[in-house]
């Protein structure tokens, strides 16, 4: 009896600590945030003292030009960054998928930018973009050109931030697509070679279609992460000049700590979370669909 009851309890005992932490430190705060987004709340008040204002925070946000601009910057940043990184990452993977010495060293070096603290990445790039001591302008000046206002002009600042993110995250896509490439069935490639397919034909008709499931998941993962970027931009430009690089996470931080409007910041966090939830669900449903399809194909093979 006692053995049977411990056995029945075991899974819950194993799950309990993680469940408790997640419930108190992750799930509860998120619910709290959803509630807080309906309050007029500043940091010196306890939440019970804040006034309930219904949807006012949301209406205020949609009427707020700065918020709309920040939303636009976020979407533009995510779209530009992910597009460039996908092209570069997949391209490099196709190019470097060869049997060469030192590939593992190369991969190790490529992970470095992702492992280093985003704060430090921002620091390095801010230094390199520096108008007088930075390497870019120093080089330009030594070649006799004018220096570029990397971080002090709106559109240049956006480009600079994009470049830094591309530097940091292209390796992620490169490594995932390389792994996908190397797990492709060699029979298909050999068959196409015998049929006389050129390198390009192999890429377009065989490699890319077979990699597609992985590429779509990679794209969604990267897209989700690109909405989380914060520290690099914070260090480089702090959202400026003007609002040209102020992505949503930065705006949340500023609304909470500078403008002291916790309710509004919570409303923004909510909107960001909804966007991310939609993306995550897309990914989840896509994964499930793939699994179902694979299972059906396996079943069909067994029947045949």
């Amino acid at each position: 009896m006692s053995i049977a009851s411990t056995n029945r309890l075991t899974p819950y005992l194993f799950l309990a600590p993680a469940g408790l932490v997640l419930a108190f430190a992750l799930f509860y705060p998120i619910c709290y945030m959803i509630y807080a987004s309906f309050l007029d709340w500043n940091p010196s008040q306890r939440i019970g003292e804040a006034d309930f204002v219904g949807l006012r925070n949301y209406f205020k946000l949609f009427g707020d030009d700065a918020f709309r601009e920040s939303m636009g910057v976020t979407l533009k940043f995510a779209a530009v960054v992910v597009t460039i990184e996908m092209f570069l990452g997949v391209g490099l993977a196709l190019l470097l998928d060869r049997n060469i010495r030192g590939m593992s060293v190369l991969r190790t070096l490529f992970i470095l930018p992702m492992m280093i603290a985003p704060i430090v990445v921002g620091l390095m790039w801010r230094y390199m973009y520096h108008p007088t001591v930075g390497i870019f302008n120093k080089t330009l000046k030594s070649w006799g050109y004018e220096g570029i206002p990397w971080l002090s002009d709106g559109s240049w600042a956006f480009a600079s931030v994009v470049i830094a993110d591309v530097w940091q995250w292209t390796p992620f896509i490169f490594i995932l697509s390389l792994a996908a490439l190397q797990s492709l069935p060699s029979s298909a490639l050999e068959a196409s070679k015998i049929d006389g397919a050129t390198g390009w034909q192999q890429i377009i008709y065989i490699k890319l279609p077979l990699m597609l499931p992985v590429l779509i998941v990679t794209l969604l993962l990267r897209l989700i992460d690109s909405f989380k970027v914060l520290e690099v931009i914070l260090v480089m430009t702090n959202g400026g000049p003007g609002l040209s690089t102020e992505i949503l996470s930065l705006r949340i931080n500023r609304t909470a700590s500078e403008f002291r409007e916790l309710g509004e910041a919570a409303a923004m966090s909510n909107l960001l979370l909804i966007v991310l939830l939609i993306l995550t669900f897309t990914m989840f449903i896509y994964n499930k669909a793939q699994e179902v399809r694979a299972a059906r194909m396996r079943a069909a093979e067994e029947e045949a």
């Binding site: 997640l22 430190a25 909470a256």
Partner: protein, 290 residues
Amino acid sequence: MSTQTYDRQNPAFYALLIALVVMAIGPIYLMLVTSLKLNVDIMSDSSSLLFMPTLRNYETALCDFLWYEPEHLRRCDPTFGRALTNSLIIGLVSTAITLVIGTMAAYALVRFRFMGRDVVSIWTLMMRMVPPAVLLVPVFGIWTFQFGIDGTRGGIILVYVALNLPFVIWILQSFIVQVPIQLEEAARMDGAGPFQVFFLVVLPLIKPGIAAASIFTFRVAWNEFLLANALADRNSRTVPVTIVNSLTEFDIDWGVIMATGMLLAIPPIIFTFVASRQIITGMTAGAVKG
């Protein structure tokens, strides 16, 4: 490995490889070089290759830990030393806690069939997507007014454990699935209880997974800025927070700040070189099957 043959490539290919490597590690190298320079050398227009490397910036940053007094310093500023201690404690403790309770949860999710397993899996996957910025407001409010643990290391550790758990559970699941169930059954036949099976049979078999998970966890705790900034007070600030704080001043001391940046970057760099294979496994798990 020595018997493996490699294809010959044309020189342009190697040129491209070298260019890529330079691009990937150039900025890091530049940071290292700058951290070894005096401000006079950083500001000068002349070629950046000729300078006397000096450890002076590191001495300034770490003056708290030195057994001698660097002669160029009039007064030792303990901010960075304190932050480094905080970062180490917070990183190590939160990694340890996350791994212990994360592996247990992952094991339960994989091995025991009980109601709601699928639901839990979906939830962990969704929680993985929550960005720290979204947690900023509620965590600040709850930690300050309800739990009363703002400004303590414990408070920061709790956030990091919660933030990392979903990913750790998710990644360890894929490793635990591969442990043959026969092994566990054999151990149970020999009279081992569920906890013994877990600690003595399963844990040793999933060491690579644990290595990957601990690197990712430590990295998040070590690198995170936003939540630490909101929660920490003067005595519990972590390194990223002090770096950003020293940046807001107008006159940036590039040499010292690059030295602190380098110190913050060194642990992840070491992990990368020691365990790149595990890191790649962790990164590709889930997206690439097999």
